[in-house]
Symmetry: C2
Subunit: 200 residues, 2 copies
DNA sequence: GTCTATATGATGATAGAC
DNA sequence: GTCTATCATCATATAGAC
């Protein structure tokens, strides 16, 4: 009778793979896609550069696995949360929802990495901004009966991206230091206008 | 008595230099700083790559000459124009001033190139955002007696950058297609709130 | 699973002929 | 002013020994 062995794959020391993923996420968010070398990621993860190619196809594959893989948030839930409540507070709920989403560990780095990639990586314009525009904000604007929902949605996207850009990429100090409540107030103003109110 | 010769340097065919500058501005704004090779710029300008080094020190020098050299706008004039008029229309005047500034030939490309560089080029975080924050928006916010002028200014910066990012970098179609009046309306709301109004 | 060695290509920069 | 030739450096990626 055979002894009861542990089943499945026996990891040699498969922290390695996740260490590479963590290092990649960190550097992609801090430095950007193009400017990060696989060597630098290997150094950060304290592994041999060749191991990256052992675990991942190439740089683009690593980026995908490290930053795109986890869905940044369930879009439907987000829309539901934004729509659930009085119309006058839609802007506040929207701002709060995003600030909350950014608070979950890793989410902020992923968002920053995607934003940086949208600016630099070829063919990576879309994922973040289109997702937000199509799956979240257009639906919110349409729920409020706006014919120009797409324009409104893209304005809302740019508010979110602007805050992220100012805080995490350009690192404008006052944005980083401001209290959460103040940011909610600040972002909720354009959000309310773009998603709910009629144009003047 | 000597004949009246043309003074100063006699250009061999010094369109070359300006062709390089034009090509550099175009590509820096379209592709970004790091991703553009000097060879690509030479190709775009239809000159020999070595000529770039003949006219400019290095890549950073070319970037400086091509995109930073012309002051994107006289900050004091801009502040004056924004402050000149009734307080309730400050947001509108601010939005209009920027849209007008973007309409002068080349200005938009320079702005885009600086924004892209702010995201990618090392040590280029500051020029654009700090300039706008310190020289323009902080002064406007202070003129309205706000103690938190810096936070307000940096929020205003992020509105401007957001629009530019959405339109010229991410190329969100609805932003590009929208009528100027609509954009003025859209941007003036947060501007008014950030620069003039009291927080709720 | 891990690492050494290396292939292959693109980059920014330079020296110097015409 | 223009261009050929070339250098040193860095990148991604691969083949294969241990």
């Amino acid at each position: 009778m055979p002894t009861n062995r542990p089943r499945g794959r026996r990891p040699g020391r498969t922290e390695t793979r996740s260490e590479i993923l963590a290092a990649a996420l960190k550097l992609f968010s801090e430095v950007g896609y193009e400017k990060v070398s696989l060597r630098a990621i290997a150094r950060e993860a304290e592994v041999d550069p060749a191991l990256i190619h052992h675990y991942f196809e190439d740089k683009a594959d690593l980026f995908e696995k490290a930053v795109l893989d986890l869905p940044l948030d369930d879009a439907e839930k987000l829309v539901g949360r934004i729509l659930d409540g009085p119309d006058e507070e839609t802007g506040v709920r929207t701002a709060t929802a995003f600030l909350d989403a950014w608070d979950v560990p890793g989410a902020r780095d992923r968002f920053t990495a995607m934003l940086r990639a949208a600016v630099t990586k070829s063919g990576e314009h879309r994922p973040l901004s289109e997702f937000l525009s199509r799956e979240v904000f257009t639906k919110v604007a349409e729920a409020h009966g706006h014919a120009d929902a797409k324009l409104r949605a893209q304005l809302a996207v740019s508010v979110i991206l602007a805050y992220s850009l100012g805080r995490d990429v350009l690192q404008l100090p006052a944005l980083a230091k401001a209290k959460k409540a103040q940011i909610v107030t600040a972002l909720s103003v354009p959000m309310q206008q773009y998603l709910v109110d009629a144009w003047k």
